[in-house]
Symmetry: C2
Subunit: 246 residues, 2 copies
DNA sequence: CGTTGTGTTGATATTAATCAACAAGTGTGG
DNA sequence: CCACACTTGTTGATTAATATCAACACAACG
């Protein structure tokens, strides 16, 4: 039962149930890409919904009917091979857009890591939306460019870095997300909210290699307190060296 | 000595030397993203130049002063590690845009594969350009989305495919470029205009492994006539199977 | 208190990298 | 026109890295 977005609940529109709490409160929501006075128009075409943890709400190859914005939680994006091998191409946090490519079918799958809220639009209305809200188009272009940079960085990691370099790079990247993390982490505590399996599928390694490499980094005094859901950095310089920083 | 773009050489503007041949003649040029009557305005901010084969005209880490469109030839995009390991993230043919990301420094390097012509703008003027030419912005958004899809596909290849699957996938991808190739190739002839070193750095392999894998595919009767600059497909189904098609 | 999911560690196998030799093509200067 | 160096590609032998197979630890949960 989708909830239609609006900041003007008093307007006499069909499908308007309640103010869009996520748009009002969350700085990275899709709604923040359009002026306040335009939110009313968005209400007619957008719907917000909850996706329970673990559910795959975009299936690679399915008809690309919608365009999404993550308004809460984190989404796992991945591609699969016939025999089950999986490559996670990224984790989309609150604020990220999904399904931008002009294609009849989704080129990836998306799964809710935790309980996720998404705001979605029919793709058939995307063109009109962008024409109506130039700010949204600029926002999309900006994020697409940044995602492209991240993708290139990941290609370097997957194609040319050793297991140790991959894990160290991943830890540093995770450390950079500290600011946006719900429990804001300290300088030296790196959160690892995802499973080893997710980390492995993101880094193009096996879970065993990820585990062994973390152990090795701990034995080398680079990190300490290796736990399931986080590690603490003992030697930041050594970690950066291990990551193969240019 | 940059040549400023214009389709109206008679206009009394500074820096207008000659009509922009590439924009007039080439269907994928940046200029085709804007209406004919607007080309005149582009002339004031765009400059076209030739890059000799092998020259690195974008260096990773340098100040991101410009935004590029490839108007002729092919460009090799890559990222490097300190010890020289290199990952080619893509080959940009005529029509591709480079330097989209909002960042102070280029996140990649770019090198001319053959003699290349590029049309470039100062990044400081990009914002204004996009405001003036909405068609350009739509075009950029579209290509960025498609590049993101290609990048995800490449992440799957680099993270999860075997050497044989990588090479087979690459051959199929090359086959798909036939339509846009200068010497238009037949159904079964796949051009390999780049060196083995380029292929290796694109697939995250060594040149030896690329060479061996091509030999193996030939011995298996999947391809035949393996030459330096192209191969012929003997068994398309076997090639697709080898690529690990979903 | 067993069961299940997740993570760690060990032993072994496999893949692709590395090191090395050589062949084929290209350009240069004598 | 022919040595010559130089680049690019192929093939072989060996090594190193990571995957695979397997056992076990531990926590969450019924």
């Amino acid at each position: 039962m989708p909830v239609v977005l609006t900041h003007r609940p008093a307007m006499p529109m069909a499908h308007v149930d309640e103010p869009c709490a996520s748009c009002a409160a969350r700085p990275f929501s899709v709604c923040n890409a359009v002026p306040d006075e335009d939110l009313y128009h968005l209400a007619a075409v957008a719907e917000e919904m909850t996706v329970p943890a673990g559910e795959e709400f975009i299936v690679e190859g399915d008809a690309a009917t919608h365009f999404f914005n993550v308004t809460g939680g984190t989404v796992r994006l991945f591609k699969s091979l016939a025999d089950g091998r999986r490559q996670i191409t990224g984790f989309a946090p609150r604020g990220h857009f999904l399904g931008l490519a002009v294609s009849d079918n989704y080129g990836f799958s998306a799964e809710a890591v935790d309980n996720v809220r998404i705001c979605r639009f029919r793709r058939s209305r995307l063109r009109g939306l962008l024409d109506d809200f130039p700010a949204l188009e600029k926002r999309l272009l900006e994020t697409a460019g940044n995602e492209l940079v991240a993708a290139q960085e990941q290609m370097l990691l997957l194609g040319r870095k050793s297991a140790r370099e991959r894990v160290a790079s991943f830890l540093l990247a995770q450390a950079r997300t500290c600011g946006t993390q719900k429990p804001p982490c300290t300088q030296s505590m790196i959160p690892l909210p995802m499973t080893r399996s997710d980390i492995a599928d993101y880094l193009g390694l096996t879970i065993e290699t990820v585990s062994r490499t973390l152990t090795q980094l701990r034995n080398d005094g680079v990190i300490s307190q290796v736990g399931v859901s986080g590690v603490s950095v003992s030697n930041r310089v050594a970690l950066e060296t291990a990551a193969g920083r240019l």
